[in-house]
């Protein structure tokens, strides 16, 4: 960090955001594929016929959209991250000012 520069806290927030979104996405399928709970009840005999099969295919298609949506969000965050420098000029909104405002939003410090 050069003289008159500050850490880019906004960039750090983006890194944390990416981690959070990845974690949210992975948490959904950590134990099993998304609709497996519903699928298990159907396999047990809750509803059995060709229409049930078609409906379960629709359900799978809907569930497939979920991780893809998180991936799209991760792409957006990475794009924003890519243009951010590690350090910014003193008094830049992304520097200490960003950290202060962020902490204020969390109720940790007054503005």
């Amino acid at each position: 960090m050069g003289a008159g520069e500050e850490t880019n806290h906004y960039k750090r927030a983006l890194v944390a955001a990416k981690t959070a979104v990845v974690s949210a996405r992975d948490g959904l399928t950590e134990d099993a594929p998304l609709p497996s709970g519903v699928g298990n009840t159907l396999l047990s005999g809750a509803w059995y016929c060709s229409e049930a099969d078609t409906w379960f295919e629709d359900l799978n298609r809907q569930c497939d959209r979920v991780p893809a949506a998180f991936d799209a969000a991760i792409d957006e965050i990475e794009a924003a991250l890519g243009v951010e420098p590690d350090d910014v000029d003193a008094n830049d909104w992304r520097g200490t000012a960003y950290l202060t405002r962020h902490m204020h939003r969390l109720g940790m410090v007054p503005l």
């Binding site: 949210a24 005999g45 509803w47 016929c49 949506a69 998180f70």
Partner: protein, 687 residues
């Protein structure tokens, strides 16, 4: 054909898993969205993005198909074990719903098999489940198709027959008979409610057979089942379909015409039928032995069906003028509500065809009941509301030009005042023969509520006319000679007082037998015509420029509250009390108009020219000269005179006293109103 295997128990688990899946996705989306700085746009994480849409889709699937399948499974086997049913394969959910409807029809057919508390409990549980489907037209139509009109009637009688009212006990053995009777009454309410709701949803969707309504009535010689259906449709706020209401109604009316009116339902060779006790309600909410009356009370929630019935002039004449039921007090009230639905509800807000039909019905009512027909007292208020809807036509005929004939018109009437625009009046107006109008006003003039509705609308109508006159005079677009007949304000004062005077004259004319009656009647009318002064603050245009005011739509102000007025009871008002106490004479009415005019003149003349466009001087000419004493007598807030409704009794007395002595417009108010009331005074005083 497809065989479908279902397990109620396992489908309950499917529902749980679906909700869990939706919630998991929702909370993952929320935690991710919270972590992202707002400076970054991530549409897929918002509620309107994919991650908001998927949980919504999952919850929709819970309702259909999963809950439908689950409920069908339990109806086929209440233990939740695996069951099978056969679908056509075209639309599984539709087939499942049809099957549910068929099963409920069987349940209703089994009502008379109930012979234990356990049976009764099981039936109540079935009714509870069915309530969730009563709004579903597919399930309801399937159930009613299987029951048929006769089965629907039987269901009501079977529900009724579960209690022996001679002994006030169930028709089966049970330990606590009184407790069981109370539970059975609750079951009667539940059963009748779901039957009425189902009939409403199926008929509104047009899924019942063409003759269902007529057959339902024709199958019920006593009419009690018909009464019960309509009573519970009314109780559950269920709107029955137009075809069903019209067909059933035509059958009821035909039967009454052929067999001697409403008495035919509860009379006959065997003497009057005793009313059949049913459900938990008694008194006014009990089922009456009058299917025609119960039908009318359900009909008014469907304005289109109301129009179809009253478009037949034979029906209108019978229902509003001849149908006298021992169950109705005052007689004609239910038919009046139907008239309101057919005219007031659709004259402004209906389609072009509905507005036209509303005018045709209104025209016939004026023509018939203003002529030879006698209107039932219970319909007076609603006829007043109907007339109020066509107040511009009433004003034209009362004050300016007798049409000399009845009928309707579509294009703007040639003599429509320039302050009323398209949209301020119904798309179709009515032509009125003045003798019919006079006759009709006499008919309704002895009913307080009717006079209140007319008085309120007429006063609002006048208020807008006076405001327009005041603003037009102030604008001075033409070189009006102040205080001559050409001045718009002078004209508005003359027209308003003439209209009010003639209207009261017509209302009072039919009901005066002696001097004492005369005084009572005029006091009552005066009080009622002073009622709407509280509304002065709501006149369109308050606080706007002259051009805004002249362009303002006034229809909603004048006519917007007619329906409400027709249903509100007259409860008195401080201003009319103040004026009445101050004068104790017929001048209450005259004074109310004077206060209206004075408020307009003061509103236009007391404002500070530096902050408001209203000024005393227009084009170098002082147009509204108001004496200081009068100006001081009227309290102001923010430079504007307070609304008439906020004046105290002392304020009113002082203002009227000062206006008597004033020159200019303020003085003209007194003399103008007085002159226009001269003929009325002569009539009242017997000179």
């Amino acid at each position: 054909m497809t065989t479908v295997a279902l397990s109620g128990y396992l489908l309950d688990e499917t529902l749980t898993e679906l909700e869990s899946l939706a919630s998991t996705i929702e909370s993952a989306r929320t935690s991710a969205q919270r972590a992202v700085p707002y400076q970054v746009s991530v549409p897929t994480l918002s509620t309107s993005g994919v991650l908001g849409a998927v949980p919504e889709w999952l919850r929709e699937q819970k309702i259909e198909p999963i809950t439908v399948m689950r409920d069908l499974a339990y109806l086929l086997d209440n233990t939740g074990s695996t069951v099978e049913f056969t679908s056509t394969g075209a639309d599984l959910v539709h087939d499942a719903k049809t099957e549910i409807g068929n099963i409920y029809a069987d349940r209703f057919e089994d009502i008379d098999d109930i012979d234990s508390s356990e049976d009764r409990e099981a039936m109540m549980h079935a009714f509870e489940m069915f309530e969730a489907y009563a709004d579903d037209p597919v399930v309801s139509a399937a159930m009613l198709e299987k029951l048929g009109p006769e089965g629907l009637n039987d269901a009501f009688y079977d529900l009724q027959g579960l209690i022996s009212y001679d002994w006030n006990e169930p028709n089966y053995n049970v330990m606590d008979k009184q407790e069981e009777v109370e539970r059975l009454k609750e079951m009667q309410d539940m059963g009748a409610s779901v039957l009425a709701m189902a009939t409403a949803s199926a008929s509104s969707a047009g899924l019942l057979d063409d003759d269902f309504g007529r057959d339902f009535v024709d199958n019920d010689a006593r009419g009690w089942g018909v009464s019960t259906l309509f009573q519970y449709a009314d109780k559950t706020d269920s709107t029955l379909g137009t075809d069903f209401l019209v067909d059933a109604g035509e059958a009821i009316l035909q039967r009454e015409r052929e067999q001697g009116g409403p008495d035919s339902w509860h009379g006959g060779l065997g003497g009057p039928y005793p009313p059949l006790p049913f459900g938990t309600d008694d008194g006014d909410d009990a089922v009456m032995n009058d299917p025609g009356l119960q039908w009318l009370q359900a009909l008014d929630s469907n304005p289109q069906a109301s129009q179809q019935i009253l478009s037949d002039t034979e029906n209108a004449d019978y229902l509003l003028g001849e149908r006298r039921s021992i169950y109705e007090d005052p007689q004609g009230a239910a038919a009046g509500e139907v008239l309101r639905a057919a005219t007031v509800d659709l004259a402004f807000d209906g389609t072009d065809a509905e507005s036209r039909t509303a005018a045709e019905i209104a025209s016939h009512v004026v023509d018939h009941f203003g002529g030879d027909g006698n209107l039932l007292d219970g319909a007076d208020e609603e006829v007043a509301a109907m007339l109020s809807t066509y107040m511009a036509d009433v004003d034209r005929v009362v004050s300016r030009a007798d049409d000399g004939e009845s009928g309707i018109y579509g294009d703007p009437h040639p003599s429509r005042p320039d302050w009323l625009q398209d949209g301020d009046v119904p798309a179709y107006g009515i032509m009125i023969d003045s003798s019919d109008l006079t006759g009709l006003l006499k008919e309704i003039g002895d009913t307080d509520g009717a006079v209140t509705v007319l008085g309120e609308t007429a006063t609002r109508y006048n208020q807008v006319r006076l405001r327009h006159g005041t603003m037009s005079s102030l604008a001075g677009g033409e070189d009006w000679a102040e205080q001559t007949d050409g001045d718009p304000l002078v004209k508005a004062i003359q027209e308003s007082s003439a209209f009010q005077g003639h209207l009261i004259d017509a209302l009072i004319n039919g009901d005066i037998d002696n001097e004492q009656d005369l005084k009572k009647q005029r006091d009552k009318l005066a009080a009622m015509f002073s009622l709407p002064l509280d509304y002065v603050t709501h006149v369109p245009g308050v606080g706007k420029t002259v051009s805004d005011i002249l362009a303002d739509p006034v229809g909603k102000f004048i006519f917007g509250n007619i329906k409400q007025s027709a249903t509100d009871a007259y409860s008195g008002d401080g201003v009319s009390d103040a004026m009445r106490n101050g004068n104790e004479m017929w001048g209450t009415t005259r004074n109310s108009l004077r206060l209206q005019v004075l408020h307009e003149v003061l509103s236009a003349s007391t404002s500070d020219s530096s902050t408001n466009e209203y000024t005393q001087t227009q084009g170098g000419e002082t147009r509204f000269s108001v004496p200081d004493e009068l100006r001081d007598a009227w309290p102001t807030v923010g430079g504007r005179p307070v609304p008439v409704g906020e004046l105290s009794e002392d304020d009113v007395r002082l203002i009227l006293d000062e206006s008597e002595q004033a020159d200019g417009y303020a003085g003209l108010v007194g003399t103008g109103v007085d002159n226009s009331f001269a003929s009325l005074t002569e009539h009242w005083s017997g000179n």
